[in-house]
């Protein structure tokens, strides 16, 4: 092996080591939650002496937790449907069409992403109050959308950038109507982007805390409930629920990505 190659090996080995170390860093909290949820004692003392999943059982049998999940999932599902619909058109304006105000429009769309979410939550609280809207999980849907619509617009735009407009023109030229072009060409070609957009919308809403905190009123989402429990003092229910919501996020995300990959493979 030449010295140059050896140096290169060393460099990639170091890069790998660093990247893996940071991955471990990213998952240490999740690991800690998992460990803390797997003890049958009331308090968390490491190393664990009494392993067990009693607290998992207790948590899953609680009616309160079922309601929490129902609220969180309902919000996330509705957010997904609305966000993808609005963002689909938003992404076409963002990346597909050449028009006069596009550059400004692109920057305005990004603004909510660049905005501290807690402050956004408070501003929405104030706004809902001003227009006399009663706070509930429905107002939280609206609040989530303010942040998620721009993110999803961005995600779909990336797909739209690689969309060849000549495909649409060819379809028109072959006699398709406007609606047929949308149904037969645009939507299928952009499907991976729409799907990722939906995935992001659901998961970001599922994991959102700062916006929910100020806008759900009497309703409670999973992250909100966890927060109220963790400031109130230690209970093993928190690590259990934390682990569950992490796992749900991981499974949905990896599963969703898997679907995209499989679909792409099936095509080629």
């Amino acid at each position: 092996m030449s010295p140059a190659e050896r140096a290169q090996r060393w460099r990639s080995a170091l890069l790998w080591a660093w990247a893996l170390a940071v991955v471990v860093f990213m998952y240490l909290p999740a690991l800690s939650l998992l460990l803390a949820s797997s003890t049958s004692s009331r308090y968390f003392i490491f190393p664990i002496t009494k392993w067990g999943f009693d607290w998992w059982q207790k948590t899953f049998n609680s009616i309160e937790i079922h309601i929490l999940f129902k609220t969180s999932v309902s919000i996330a599902l509705i957010v997904t449907v609305i966000a993808v619909t609005i963002a689909f058109f938003g992404a076409l304006a963002f990346a597909r069409y050449e028009w006069k105000g596009r550059s400004i429009y692109q920057k305005i769309v990004l603004l909510p992403i660049f905005f501290p979410q807690s402050v956004l939550g408070l501003a929405l609280l104030l706004w809902f109050n001003t227009i006399g809207l009663e706070l509930s999980w429905k107002s939280a849907v609206f609040a989530h959308l303010v942040w998620i619509v721009p993110v999803v617009t961005l995600v779909i735009s990336i797909q739209v950038y690689s969309f060849d407009p000549a495909l649409e023109e060819a379809a028109y030229d072959l006699g398709a109507s406007r609606w047929q072009v949308l149904k037969e060409v645009t939507l299928p070609v952009l499907f991976p982007g729409l799907f990722s957009g939906a995935l992001f919308a659901f998961l970001l809403s599922w994991g959102n805390f700062p916006l929910s905190l100020f806008t759900t009123g009497a309703d409670t989402t999973v992250p909100e409930y966890l927060y109220s429990k963790m400031v109130a003092g230690y209970t093993p229910g928190v690590p259990v629920l934390g682990t569950v919501s992490t796992m749900i996020a991981a499974v949905l995300f990896l599963g969703g990505y898997g679907i995209i990959v499989l679909r792409r493979r099936a095509r080629s």
Binding site: S2, P3, A4, E5
Partner: protein, 354 residues
């Protein structure tokens, strides 16, 4: 050419990537001041080869000698060689002047001297002086080509490498730039090593050509040698449109079993028994009478294409389509789908092994 001293010697150069061997034990000597072109289709290993010569990859086996010194482990930034890349790799965040001055800046040449040298190179490459402060991304294709060459020349290398820099340029401009490059080669007297997939491009510029296939150097020779005496079916086909048919030698005559015909052979290589007969379109004529050529076939005129001064005819003989040519003045009229005679003289054909 043989009197010139060798500047670059390759001894058994091999490059493997995992289990894939991109370059198989190539031996080659390039002489001082030579314009040497490596031609091959994509995947022939020519780019890998050039990257090893430039020091951007190191060979898995074999030695690279530069003026007799082994340079295998000398990285690209220490080698007195320089490359013009396929994408040209101009620095998009720098002006034309800054691009050309880059290698000088790296060597801490004073600013005034750098500028003087850059302007001198720009003049040599016919780039207007006003371009000095111009953003390279605003330059046209031909101008960018010249900037890339000027930048490489500013490095003052012993050898210049070219990785298909003209492949993305339209035909007319490419022809101009090919000639310009040959002029620059003469003016500077430096050694040029050029790679391309176009043998036509190689023919125009090179002193010698090496043809690569699947990591092997299959033939090295002057353009004339490659054109008139290809040593394999691959090289003869690579040159462009040719008529090629399998033949076997039988008692001093060539037999084509497929066409059921016999031909008078050209000079037969020693030990030849089976192979292919190559006839270039310009040697295969559409005949008026059977006695106009030594070897004659009867076929059907299938289509015709006007190529400026010549007209090309597709003639179908059995299952095989032959390409023949005629001067425009002797163009056939109203003969499509009729029977025609095509023929060639034995000395205009070439016998190659597989």
């Amino acid at each position: 050419m043989t009197t010139r001293s060798p500047v670059l010697e390759l001894r058994g150069i091999t490059k493997t990537f995992g289990t894939f061997t991109a370059v198989h034990g190539i031996d080659l000597t390039i002489a001082e001041g030579e314009f040497f072109t490596i031609v091959g289709p994509s995947g022939s290993g020519k780019t890998t080869m050039l990257r090893m010569l430039a020091g951007l990859e190191s060979p898995s086996a074999g030695d690279i000698l530069l003026r007799g010194q082994r340079v295998n482990d000398l990285p690209a930034n220490k080698r007195p060689t320089c490359m013009v890349f396929q994408s040209l790799a101009l620095f998009p965040h720098r002006t034309v002047g800054q691009n050309i001055e880059f290698p000088l800046k790296i060597r801490d040449v004073p600013a005034a001297e750098r500028k003087a040298r850059a302007l001198q190179l720009m003049a040599q490459l016919r780039l207007p002086e006003s371009y000095y402060g111009k953003n390279v991304t605003k330059c046209s294709g031909g101008e960018r080509q010249r900037v890339a060459l000027a930048r490489a020349l500013a490095y003052n290398p012993d050898i210049l490498f070219f990785d298909e820099p003209l492949s993305a340029i339209d035909y007319k401009l490419r022809k101009t730039l090919e000639k310009e490059l040959k002029d620059i080669h003469r003016e500077t007297g430096k050694t040029f090593v050029y790679i391309t997939h176009s043998l036509e491009e190689a023919m125009v510029m090179s002193d010698r050509i090496g043809v690569m296939r699947l990591g092997h150097m299959v033939q090295v020779g002057t353009p004339n040698e490659i054109y008139t005496a290809p040593n394999s079916k691959f090289v003869s086909e690579f040159i462009g449109d040719v008529n090629i048919m399998p033949v076997r030698l039988n008692g001093g005559r060539l037999v084509s079993d497929e066409l059921g015909a016999e031909f008078l052979p050209p000079a037969v290589p020693t030990g030849f028994s089976n192979g292919h007969l190559v006839v270039r379109p310009e040697s295969l004529r559409v005949l008026d009478r059977r006695d106009e050529a030594e070897n004659v076939l009867t076929g059907t005129l299938y289509n015709e294409y006007a190529l400026g001064s010549r007209i090309q005819y597709q003639v179908r003989v059995g299952e095989r389509v032959f390409i023949a040519e005629r001067l425009r003045q002797q163009a056939l009229t109203g003969r499509l789908d009729t029977e025609v005679l095509v023929g060639w003289n034995a000395r205009d054909s070439i016998l190659v092994s597989d």
